[in-house]
């Protein structure tokens, strides 16, 4: 089932080339932030947008203007259809821009025209080229209105299916990050920082040399299971207790939602980047801490970087999959004989999934589609479910800890025991 693309096999000795593509306004601004943070030299950065002005203002080294006919160098006006058409129109340019990349990290803000419309097209192009595609997307604030949320949900379903790994960040969760009174600029900066940090960590994960290298094949193992959702967490620590600090921070990372997502993770990739004075005892401490939170497979990677100032731990977990919370629906869909050549649903007519039923429907048959496709890396995205339902349950956290709000959480088997048992077990009190 797992086919490693030829392009990867050929150069398995060297570090894979990573390209970061920012799509749409949100994506481009994130790429800008990464460029300014100084990763620019080590990474390929690409900005993709329909808006010539925004693209002109970007500091990204490479830019692709899409939809010069469809959008005439302007924005899409929030219409994913225009975004998708623009991207299709510029397929040749995009293909050229993606040339030679082994791992493509696509950043986008879902909900708008380019982010929701063009991203799936770009992901598909990258996948066709045989690259491993990681999508990092932000979901709109719920106050941005129903339409944007619906567009984001549609794109989410689509991307979860197409990409190898799909990591989301809900803007609504920003409220949890910053103090309620802090300025909007600060809050956005924090969210960007998290995303930029995530990208930097993925980059290090795949590129830092060390005694235990993480290969693309390892990444695939973590993401391989169809229908899985990816979670990412990272943390850094310095000084004598750096290992514990880093792993605790990684577990508490907002994207990983306080270690909870690890509980049902099937596979977790732990990558440690540290200066060469990394000790075995530290690795052990980190692994043991992570192992306490999950029963799934653990994959370890270690990178040694003489320039690193501290120890960084990145956790990449993939949960769900074949045994999901709602296995009933995807299963029968897979059992039905697959249509031999079903076209990939695009956004030409954006579906508006108001119910879960509809949201899952387009994802299921495509499992088969990828089985017959000749040049895919593997079949992970196939039945991948949008991670949203899982993340939603976490909104309970801040209220439910009560008097333990400020104390160190007691996490056993991935469950935060400070949260009342009746809430976690959903026991009806009346």
């Amino acid at each position: 089932m797992l086919e490693i693309p030829r392009s990867l096999l050929a150069e398995s000795g060297s570090a894979p080339r990573i390209l970061i593509a920012g799509v749409g306004n949100a994506g481009v601004s994130l790429v800008d932030r990464i460029t300014l943070a100084g990763f620019g030299n080590a990474l390929d950065l690409l900005a993709v947008n329909t808006d010539g002005v925004s693209l002109g203002a970007s500091v990204a080294p490479r830019k692709v203007l899409i939809g010069s006919k469809t959008a005439r160098g302007l924005g899409t006006g929030g219409d994913p259809e225009v975004g998708a058409e623009s991207a299709e129109e510029a397929e040749a340019e995009i293909t050229a821009a993606l040339e030679g990349a082994h791992i493509v990290i696509v950043c986008a803000g879902l909900g708008g025209g380019v982010g929701s419309g063009a991203t799936p097209v770009l992901v598909e192009i990258a996948r066709k080229r045989g690259a491993l595609v990681v999508v990092l997307a932000t979901l709109p604030f719920s106050f941005e209105g129903r339409r944007r949320v619906q567009q984001a949900e549609a794109a989410q379903t689509e991307l979860a299916r197409l990409a190898d790994a799909f990591i989301t960040f809900e803007n609504d969760r920003m409220a949890d990050l910053a103090e309620p009174l802090s300025g909007v600029h600060e809050t956005f900066a924090m969210s960007d920082e998290i995303l930029a940090g995530t990208i930097a960590a993925i980059f290090r994960l795949a590129s830092t040399p060390g005694p235990i290298r993480v290969t693309t094949a390892d990444l695939l193992t973590v993401f391989r299971h169809p229908g899985s959702t990816s979670h990412f967490g990272f943390g850094e620590g310095q000084g004598g207790n750096r290992a514990n600090e880093a792993v605790e921070r990684a577990l508490k990372s907002p994207l990983l939602t306080r270690g909870k997502s690890l509980l049902d993770a099937r596979a977790t990739l732990i990558h440690i980047t540290a200066p060469p004075d990394l000790r075995l005892a530290e690795i052990r401490a980190i692994m043991e801490t992570v192992a306490r939170h999950t029963d799934g497979h653990l994959h370890l990677g270690i990178g040694l970087d003489p320039d690193a100032t501290g120890l960084a731990v990145a956790l990449l977990a993939s949960s769900g999959g074949a045994v999901t919370a709602r296995p009933a629906r995807p299963a029968p869909a897979r059992a039905t004989p697959p249509p031999a050549e079903e076209p990939v649903p695009t956004f030409s007519a954006p579906p508006v999934p108001s119910t879960e039923e509809e949201e899952l429907a387009p994802a299921a048959p495509s499992t088969e589609l990828f089985d017959t496709a000749p040049f895919t890396v593997e079949k992970p995205g196939a039945a991948k479910k949008a991670p949203k339902p899982e993340q939603k349950t976490l909104s309970l956290d801040p209220i439910a800890r009560g008097r333990f709000e400020k104390s160190e959480p007691t996490i056993v088997g991935g469950e935060d025991l400070d949260v009342p048992t009746f809430l976690r077990q959903k026991i009806k009190l009346r």
């Binding site: 207790n241 005892a281 439910a400 009560g402 160190e408 007691t410 400070d418 009342p420 009746f422 077990q425």
Partner: protein, 404 residues
């Protein structure tokens, strides 16, 4: 007034700080002279979070104990707990030199040293090295190998370790409060000293000490400590659950738990309500008893299930033949024994300190089991230290840690 040797046990608990002053009498018995206590502030889940408040609490408890026992306290033995404490079993081996052949105290130290040659996290300290069994040339069931002839000495140990800095915080807290620290002991080992007699240890028993912030447990099988653990869930969690579930203030929830709470969900008949009177800052309300009990039951059951899971992973539950001994403040919760029995499928006893004399109100209260246990442990250690005493040849089975 002349006193025989004074032993003082100090427990800096999540709910209360408690100091027990006891007299080690020449006949080997222990008589409690007085107990001082103060309500804890700045302690969560058995660990200090507000240093200055904690010092004040310890000072108060010590002063209270000095007054009640009419004695001056100079040094204490301290119980420690916290989720950072971990344990494992390991075997040590040492070869007896050919020219000697007879096992001596030096060899015992060597075998213990070899058992400790394991990786524990850098920031951790060994707290206890508890001897389980000795083997001389593969002969099992050796109680005391000193003086025996053999080529190879092996020993199984139960090793307990914890984070250095956190233990140091507890020690510093006692020192700042003006008392020297003799030694530390983990809660569960202390509680076991008073909750179990030798017969029960031989039969196999579990001591479950449910305190305010942590649940400490210790498993004895065949007379030896087989497993120990700390789960940072305790009575505080029950209170917190009640407070969230019934939307009442924490202080009110605590009182409700003690006065009305039960872990038995079937006890309340439908429609049975409890009326909470209005209080300052609380407008009073009526709650359903069934709801209260269900909240408590869910938490208590989960707590026991987690403990059982951990014990099962390390021990054979069939070898526990004396049952479960419940102790600690939360052991007084109504109906908790039944839930423990349901989860462990074992007889459950709620026990307080045995084998001590003094005011009964003290040692019959499971709240004081740990602190009294500390004293009992201290007594045991001192007997072992005296080479001339009758028990002197019993080796120090708990493996003392060097003084801090």
């Amino acid at each position: 007034m002349s006193k025989d040797r004074l032993l003082v046990g100090l427990e800096i608990g999540t709910f209360k700080v408690c100091a027990v002053v006891a007299e080690d009498r020449p006949d080997g018995s222990l008589r409690i002279l007085g107990v001082g206590e103060s309500k804890s502030v700045g302690i969560r889940k058995g660990e200090i979070v507000d240093f200055n408040s904690a010092i004040q609490c310890v000072r108060d408890a010590i002063a209270d104990a000095e007054e009640k026992a009419d004695a001056e306290i100079e040094s204490v033995w301290v119980a420690v707990t916290g989720a950072h404490i971990q344990s494992f079993n390991n075997r040590g081996v040492t070869i007896i030199p050919e020219d000697r052949g007879e096992i001596d105290a030096e060899d015992i130290r060597d075998v213990e040293g070899s058992a400790k040659e394991v990786n524990i996290p850098d920031q951790n300290w060994f707290i206890h090295t508890i001897t389980q069994h000795y083997y001389v040339d593969n002969q099992e069931g050796v109680v005391n190998p000193i003086g025996m002839v053999g080529n190879k000495l092996e020993a199984d140990y139960h090793i307990v370790h914890g984070v250095k800095t956190r233990i140091q915080n507890t020690l510093r807290c006692a020192k700042e409060a003006g008392v020297a620290v003799e030694e530390i002991v983990i809660n569960s080992v202390a509680s076991a000293q008073v909750a179990l007699d030798q017969h029960q240890k031989d039969l196999g028993a579990i001591v479950l000490d449910i305190g305010g912030g942590t649940t400490d447990y210790l498993v004895y099988i065949d007379g030896a400590v087989q497993h120990s653990g700390v789960l940072a869930v305790g009575g505080d969690h029950i209170t917190n659950d009640i407070s969230i579930g019934l939307r009442i203030p924490i202080a009110r929830a605590e009182r409700l738990k003690i006065e009305e709470g039960s872990a038995n969900p079937d006890e309340a008949s439908p429609g049975d309500t409890i009326i909470l009177k209005n209080d300052s800052g609380f407008s009073g309300c009526e709650i359903e008893r069934a709801m209260l009990n269900r909240i408590i039951y869910a938490r208590v059951r989960e707590l026991f299930e987690l403990v059982r899971k951990d014990i099962e992973a390390n021990c054979d539950l069939d070898l526990i033949r004396a049952g479960i001994m419940l102790t600690g403040g939360a052991a007084r919760l109504h109906g908790i024994q039944e839930v423990a029995g349901e989860v462990f499928e074992q007889p459950v006893h709620s026990v307080a300190a045995q084998q001590v004399t003094g005011p009964t109100s003290v040692f019959q209260n499971p709240q004081y089991a740990t602190a009294i246990g500390v004293v009992k442990y201290a007594q045991l250690m001192q007997i072992e230290e005296e080479p001339d005493s009758l028990f002197g040849k019993i080796r120090n089975i708990f493996g003392r840690r060097a003084k801090a």
